[in-house]
């Protein structure tokens, strides 16, 4: 029997390591033989972590969820010793659907194989695609297969992958580079982390294939330093691939050489832009430069360079092995294949969801994600991070394709979906993103550097209740100028969160400015706390109030002195009778 414990970053954060230690202890104490303990990556059902899969000798798998250390003993006694499924700990039929409704290409091995063991990857047809490529395909045939698949860049721009590969191939020169952008900088997206941690070999194999197709012999993975576990697992995977001869000289006796190395990023969102990423690889400040020349002509060390995102490259082995047509048969006419979305925010079932493109937002958020946490009202979904926008509830039936999402003013981006409920203030969301882009602007273009700062100041003023007539128009004017006056995608898209919230939630801006009211009761300066008749006079809130703003006799209704109140919300947290109202 085999016990496999999901140990991606999110699994570990919920205590998977403690769970694993407890299994080890129990198995030793109870002297159980014939049970091995294993590790796997994240299966994507983050809301059920820690997840433990028990494989019986006949291959049958039982999944146990939310396995904190105190639940281990029961599973050990019932399943490992008496061979009975511990039903009350096992995953419910409803939760099984979270994965069951998906169609997994990129995430096919995540949460299934042990990412630290190359044999596991080989056992699921790993490195078969590169064998096929190197023993029976010409580079142009590989590019043609990718073209047939219709694969588009999954990092945000959605540019056809075959086109970039072909451009790098056509570029003159013997020394070419293939760079993988694993600097997943969009806050709210974590599919690349999951692939790096859960299935690093599929990325490595995709890169070897890409290298062969465009004639690059060296690959670099630019991975963000915030992902230490991803870097560790990549290093292990690369060493194993080298040992097996999949990386290095003369792979599969084909005469093709390819090797890889990792460069750890140092934290700069702008490095998602290709030329900035290259500057960073060269040890410089990550500042974009004018294009052309495009990296395909002059990139890393002035050599032809192709840059693809993790998810894009992880698709490649599957496409080559199963054929481009199989991939192209999923999705819509212009947005083919599957896409991974990271569901987070005010969602019931958060995690990674891989579905064919063309499903509607409703299918993803309600069909798979289970709807809104605490059954609140769905207000909007933010897609595309700081370059994207908020899509309102009335557009919930929009199909998730590059074209349809663009029409709303947002973008598919890297696939982050942050779900918001009625408690989320849209002006505050815009402020949040502008604060982010203001911080992350490299400073090269004036409009981006100063313009985002000015927009942020206006938004701060509005959320602090100091908004004035004309602010909305000023925001719109600045937004247009920043878009026109910025050289790279960061500046050109920085105003999007403001523009989309203005488009769909203009009334909230107006409420803040003219009525000094925050509909979502989220902006501190615009809310007030009061005590209603449910108050029992228990004095708890008065004792917890840090500024002594609450007064009242024991067993009598208390009152809050609005002049003294600092709106910290302590009273709301401490009241046991629901007597504190926030408006």
């Amino acid at each position: 029997m085999r016990v496999v414990i999901g140990q991606g970053s999110c699994g570990i954060a919920t205590g998977a390591k403690k769970t694993a230690a407890e299994f080890e202890k129990q198995i030793a104490e109870k002297n159980i033989s014939n049970v091995t303990l294993g590790v796997t990556g994240c299966v994507g059902t983050c809301y059920l972590e820690p997840i433990v899969d028990v494989y019986d000798d006949d291959g049958k798998m039982t999944r146990y969820v939310k396995v904190q250390p105190d639940k281990v003993e029961k599973i050990v006694e019932e399943h490992l010793m008496q061979h009975q499924v511990a039903e009350d700990q096992a995953i419910t039929e409803e939760d099984k659907e979270f994965v069951g409704k998906q169609q997994r290409v990129v995430l096919r091995n995540c949460g299934v194989i042990n990412p630290e063991n190359i044999e596991d990857y080989i056992a699921v047809d790993g490195y078969k695609a590169i064998e096929k490529v190197l023993t029976s395909m010409k580079p142009e045939e590989v590019i043609e297969e990718i073209k047939v698949s219709g694969l588009r860049g999954r990092g945000g721009a959605g540019f056809p992958t075959w086109f970039k590969w072909n451009a790098a191939k056509q570029s003159p020169g013997n020394e070419k580079y293939l760079v993988c952008n694993a600097d997943e900088g969009d806050p709210g997206a974590f599919m690349d982390r999951s692939v790096l941690e859960g299935d690093p070999h599929s990325l490595i194999e995709g890169m070897i294939i890409g290298g062969y197709a465009m004639g690059a012999t060296q690959g670099v993975i630019y991975c963000r330093a915030e992902y230490p576990l991803a870097i560790k697992r990549l290093e292990i995977a690369m060493a194993q691939a080298r040992e097996k001869g999949f990386l290095g000289k003369n792979i599969f006796d084909s005469g093709f050489d390819f090797d890889l190395r990792i460069k750890a990023g140092a934290g700069a969102f702008v490095c998602g832009e290709e030329t900035a990423l290259i500057a960073s690889l060269e040890g410089e400040r990550g500042m974009p430069r004018l294009k052309p020349p495009f990296p395909a002509a002059k990139g890393y060390w002035q050599k032809p360079t192709d840059i693809n995102n993790v998810e894009t490259l992880a698709n490649v082995p599957w496409i080559i092995y199963n054929g481009g047509a199989a991939f192209g048969s999923m999705g819509t006419e212009k947005s083919k294949g599957t896409k991974v979305f990271a569901l987070a925010g005010k969602i019931k079932k958060g995690g990674l969801v891989e579905v064919p493109m063309g499903l509607t937002l409703r299918d993803v958020i309600f069909g798979i994600g289970g709807g809104i946490k605490n059954d609140r009202e769905f207000k909007a979904v933010q897609m595309g991070g700081p370059s994207g926008g908020c899509i309102p509830a009335e557009l919930i039936d929009t199909p998730v394709t590059y074209e349809d999402i663009n029409k709303t003013g947002a973008i598919v981006g890297s696939g982050g979906m942050i779900v918001m409920d009625e408690d989320t203030c849209m002006v505050d969301m815009a402020r949040y993103f502008l604060n982010f882009t203001r911080d992350e602007s490299c400073g090269k273009c004036n409009y981006c550097r100063i313009g985002t700062k000015r927009m942020l100041e206006i938004l701060e003023r509005i959320t602090e209740g100091e908004g004035k007539d004309g602010d909305i128009e000023l925001l719109e004017e600045l937004a247009g100028k920043i878009k026109d006056g910025s050289m790279c995608g960061l500046g050109q898209t920085a105003p999007n969160p403001v523009l989309t919230t203005l488009k769909y939630f203009r009334n909230e801006y107006e409420d803040h400015i003219y009525n000094k009211k925050c509909t979502a009761a989220s902006c501190k300066a615009l809310i007030s706390f009061s005590i209603n008749d449910a108050c029992k006079g228990c004095t708890l809130c008065a004792r917890h109030c840090p500024v002594g703003a609450i007064s009242g006799k024991v067993k009598e209704k208390h009152v809050i002195d609005q002049d003294l109140c600092i709106k910290c919300g302590k009273c709301l947290d401490t009241c046991k009778f629901g007597a504190i109202e926030k408006k």
Binding site: A189, P228, G265, W301, A344
Partner: protein, 172 residues
């Protein structure tokens, strides 16, 4: 920043002070494009990049101190001030923001009496807001870095964060 012409042996003193960094520089000093890697390794060893460390790296690599400073201040990862034994990296990603990371920040600031970027007087904690840790479905999240390793904590509440920090403070 250069002490050329002085007789105080500062260059030699620095070599002694940064002897742990010598193998790193031996490996990377002459490899083009390695500045960020060198700075990362230096920060791993010393916890931060001191002015002396920058000068030493400059001498060994031939890269001007001003340029090194430029790179070090461009990227969020680099710190120019020492940090506490436990570095709290509080996620301010979108999902964390929507789920109340600002409230968590307030709770930490109040509990430790420091602001973002500051270190507690006893040198135990430093608080840094970071972009996104990629554990979005467990929002709000923080990672605590120390010699014990990196530990991630999810689904934080005002109370749980205080409890976690309290436990660390007790054993520190």
């Amino acid at each position: 920043m250069s002490e050329k012409g002085c007789n105080c042996n500062c260059a030699q003193n620095r070599a002694a002070e940064f002897k742990d960094l010598a193998p790193v520089l031996e490996q990377y000093a002459k490899v083009p494009g390695s500045l960020i890697t060198i700075l990362q390794k230096a920060q791993d060893i010393y916890g931060y990049l001191s002015l002396d460390a920058i000068n030493y790296i400059s001498e060994e690599t031939g890269i001007k101190p001003a340029k090194i400073y430029g790179v070090a201040t461009f990227y969020a990862q680099f710190r120019l001030k020492p940090v506490g034994k436990y570095l709290i990296m509080l996620c301010q990603g979108t999902a964390c923001h929507v789920n109340g990371s600002e409230m968590i920040e307030e709770a930490i600031c109040e509990y430790l009496d420091i602001k973002d970027g500051e270190t507690t007087e006893d040198g135990i904690f430093t608080l840094n807001n970071v972009a996104c840790l990629g554990c979005c479905s467990l929002a709000p999240v923080m990672m605590i870095k120390s010699v014990e390793g990196d530990e991630t904590y999810g689904n934080l509440t005002k109370d749980s964060v205080k409890q976690i920090l309290g436990e660390i403070r007790e054993r520190a």
